[in-house]
């Protein structure tokens, strides 16, 4: 333990992991919720039903809380590449730095630039302009996901150039952007933010219904969420499978760690799939494991035998294997388990909907279903965090997979500096996390303000032509004559 405290590389890694794990919590919600806000505001403009307007206003309160903290907690992410990973920044700046620049200039600026109008512009701009601002915010947020995932996918499967004298020289930028991991990773993360947000909104809506507050109002949001999640939850399992498949092809060390495979399973033969295990790194084996016979072939390729070998960790020298195999192994199982749970919840909810049991009058009787939704609210976050642990811890010992080792990527800094900043981050981010939960739950307990006046839409004439109600002048006669 004391050794770690004087090891700059380990401390820088811990700092990056800590800031990334905390930071992720906020944009994961805002990115998906932005799409939801586009949907409800669009439905308001279409149907003119004030409920949708009040949904837009209510959920945007949670949106702004999370957005503000997301911005604050995200700043260190960009700067850490320079402060703590200077050799890495210099080696990959040509591509990786450019992509982070695009994220800032194209995506984040778009989101931040229109956010003011989306939040405070209700009375100041035309509803259509306002809607445009909401769309831009959502578009910007998701464009951010795109560029960040382009950058990260490139770290997972570097393409478009080669290392020359310790610097990555890019020969084809578009090939680098379209690196082997890119499309599926972007899709997987896009669905992850959407799914997480849907279940947060759905869970909160279910909580209101269970507590018999604004039942009809929140039955509406629950149904919107359900309609989207019925498609998203199973789709995410499929895209997740595609992501695992690309790991199988491009990152054999990660796949071996995800499955805690120490020995190679040769091609042309069936292989067992381990459901639970206790990986022991020093002994290079699993102390015990629970396996499902012949399942690995079905999981990876939908057939009983493997067409390619699945390499075991022992194929590499200990220094070339990912560490913390147990963490990677269980994170992967937690993520996939949550994915299946959420899809199951959708199946159940979908059935109840078909049976007509989710109508505003009857929905409150579905106590266990609603409790399931409340329970599901935080699961998306856990799955996202677990997934990123698999993705980034599983990439070790490489920062740029197969090209730059993490140990060579770190800035030479006094360990004391990093320890100090790491401690400060741990304290501040914990405060941010607890405060967000506290203030978020305050917003939720307070509930929506259904009294909020709905902005005039243009189907109403600009000048009110309805005859005014006659109010007799009740002032004394003398005062009346003075006024004239």
């Amino acid at each position: 333990m004391v050794e770690i405290l004087s090891n700059t590389v380990a401390l820088s890694r811990m700092q990056f992991a800590l800031t990334a794990i905390f930071h992720m919590l906020w944009p994961v919600l805002t990115t998906g919720m932005a799409i939801y806000l586009v949907i409800v505001e669009g439905m308001w403009l279409r149907t003119r039903n004030p409920d949708y307007y009040h949904h837009a206003r209510f959920w945007s309160k949670l949106y702004i809380l999370n957005f503000g903290i997301g911005v604050a907690s995200g700043l260190p992410m960009e700067f850490q590449f320079g402060t703590n990973w200077a050799p890495f920044s210099e080696a990959v700046g040509d591509f990786f730095g450019s992509i982070l620049g695009f994220e800032g200039a194209m995506a984040f600026m778009l989101e931040a630039g229109f956010l003011g109008i989306m939040l405070f512009g209700w009375g100041r701009v035309h509803p259509v302009i306002h809607y445009l601002a909401t769309i831009m915010v959502a578009f910007g947020a998701n464009l951010s996901t795109f560029w960040i995932l382009v950058a990260n996918s490139w770290l997972q499967s570097p393409a478009g150039g080669e290392m020359v004298d310790g610097k990555f020289v890019v020969s084809d930028y578009f090939q680098a952007i379209l690196n082997p991991f890119m499309v599926k990773s972007v899709a997987h993360m896009f669905l992850a933010t959407l799914e997480t947000s849907l279940f947060v909104i759905g869970g909160i809506s279910a909580w209101y219904i269970l507590n018999q507050r604004h039942q009809a109002f929140f039955a509406r949001s629950l149904k919107i969420v359900l309609a989207a999640a019925i498609a998203v939850a199973p789709l995410q399992i499929y895209v997740g499978h595609l992501s695992a498949e690309q790991v199988y092809h491009y990152q054999p060390t990660k796949l071996a760690a995800m499955e805690a495979q120490w020995e190679t399973s040769p091609a042309g033969q069936p292989a067992d799939w381990s459901l639970l295990a206790w990986p022991d790194e020093s002994g290079a084996k699993n102390r015990w494991e629970l396996t499902i016979p012949n399942a690995l072939g079905y999981i990876l390729e939908f057939k009983p035998t493997l067409s390619e070998p699945v390499l075991g960790l022992k194929e590499w020298k200990p220094g070339d294997r990912p560490r913390m195999v147990g963490l990677i192994y269980y994170s992967f199982r937690i993520m996939s388990g949550i994915g299946f749970f959420l899809a199951g919840l959708m199946l159940w909810s979908g059935l109840q909907w078909r049976l007509g049991k989710l109508s505003p009058e009857k929905i409150a009787q579905q106590k266990w279903l609603l409790r399931g939704w409340v329970f599901a609210a935080p699961l998306g976050y856990i799955a996202v965090e677990a997934g990123w642990i698999v993705r980034c811890v599983g990439r070790q010992p490489w920062t740029l997979y197969g090209q730059i080792r993490t140990a060579d990527a770190a800035s030479p800094l006094p360990a004391m500096n990093v320890l100090t900043s790491l401690t400060a981050f741990a304290v501040i981010y914990s405060i941010l996390f607890v405060s967000t939960l506290y203030f978020g739950s305050r917003i939720i307990r307070k509930g929506p303000n259904l009294e909020l006046p709905v902005p005039e839409l243009d189907n109403q004439p600009a000048i009110d032509t309805t005859p005014a109600k006659f109010i007799p002048d009740q002032r004394p006669v003398e005062a009346q004559s003075v006024a004239e």
Partner: protein
């Protein structure tokens, strides 16, 4: 090809300068208002101060993110070396900005506003201080080896000259924050900020004069550059022009004009910025690493211009549009309900 190798880094130097200037100007008044909030006597005033920023602060701060990303992409060597060398001031700034940003959100919902008010003011101060130290030590120069990697020690950034730059920058932020508040407020609050603007104009001026004197006295390289014609005439003209602008600013403050103080302050910032740019150019780590040595490959610079270059006018357009939508005086709470 040779011309291209010179031209592209220069283009990116100008683009970075633009991003940095927009950041310093926009987040400058943001941070200045934050620092001023520490002196506010009551809750209502602090609330108005924060409301005046509610809808713009995160777009303003985004220029820092854009600038950071562009520096990373266009001059990776400088990005790594400068940030590595300035570990402590950079984290000072980041922690300051974090406190400030979360204070906006949490204050709104909190019953104990005093704590978050303090976090807002102190965070703004800390962020400005970190930026000032960073700016001061970049101008002073960073110890690097021949490959351009940082070889100095952790506390290199701290000396009286960088402290002078930091204090002057804070005063400058207070000045632009005050003139912004003159624009956005009325009555007593506005009167207060006519006073703070006058005070800050004078302290900024003193700081600027000291820096102008200290730079050629203590930095030999700067001295040789400064006293060689034709640059000498430009460098002589900048302080004179600066004095003229400060006089115009003080006059507009005495006449209690509402808009012109903000405009004069922006011009003072711009002038200072051009002066700094001329002293630094063609170095990106003065006087060690030039923009040509630190630049990314030409293909990377072209690639970034294609994606970012055409966006600059669009970004400016919607940022200006936002200011147009929210023009006029601040009233009540921006958050409404």
């Amino acid at each position: 090809m040779d011309a291209l190798l010179h031209f592209l880094p220069q283009v990116w130097f100008v683009i970075l300068g633009l991003f940095l200037f927009l950041y310093v100007m926009l987040d400058g008044f943001d941070l200045g208002v934050g620092i001023l909030s520490l002196t506010s006597s009551d809750e209502e005033r602090r609330s108005l101060l924060m409301t005046s920023l509610g809808n713009v602060w995160d777009a303003n701060e985004t220029w820092l993110v854009v600038m950071g990303g562009a520096l990373f992409g266009a001059f990776p060597l400088a990005y790594g070396t400068i940030l590595n060398a300035l570990y402590i001031p950079i984290f000072m700034m980041i922690f300051g900005l974090i406190f400030r940003a979360v204070a906006f959100e949490f204050r709104e919902h909190s019953n104990r506003k005093l704590f978050w008010n303090f976090a807002f003011g102190a965070g703004s101060f800390l962020a400005a201080l970190g930026q000032g130290f960073a700016l001061g030590s970049v101008i002073e120069g960073i110890a690097v080896d021949e490959a351009g990697h940082f070889i100095g020690s952790t506390w290199d950034w701290l000396d009286w000259r960088s402290l002078l730059v930091a204090l002057t920058l804070i005063q400058g932020y207070v000045l632009i924050g005050s003139t912004y508040l003159i624009l956005k407020t009325e009555g007593e609050l506005q009167k207060t900020h006519f006073r703070t603007a006058r005070l800050a104009a004078i302290t900024t001026l003193i700081g600027a004069i000291l820096i102008t004197i200290a730079t050629p006295v203590f930095y030999e390289t700067a001295r040789t550059r400064l006293f060689t014609p034709p640059l000498f005439y430009i460098f002589a003209a900048i302080p004179l022009l600066g004095l003229l602008l400060v006089w115009l600013l003080l006059r507009s403050l005495n006449r209690e004009e509402e808009r012109t103080p903000f405009i004069w302050t922006i011009l003072i910032f711009l002038l200072t910025f051009i002066g700094l740019g001329l002293i630094v150019f063609p170095y990106i780590i003065p006087t060690q690493i030039t923009i040509y040595q630190a630049a990314a490959a030409p293909s990377a610079l072209v690639f970034m211009i294609i994606f970012v270059g055409f966006l600059i006018p669009i970004m400016l357009f919607y940022n200006i549009y936002q200011y147009v939508v929210f023009r006029g005086k601040v009233v009540g709470s921006a958050y409404g309900d």
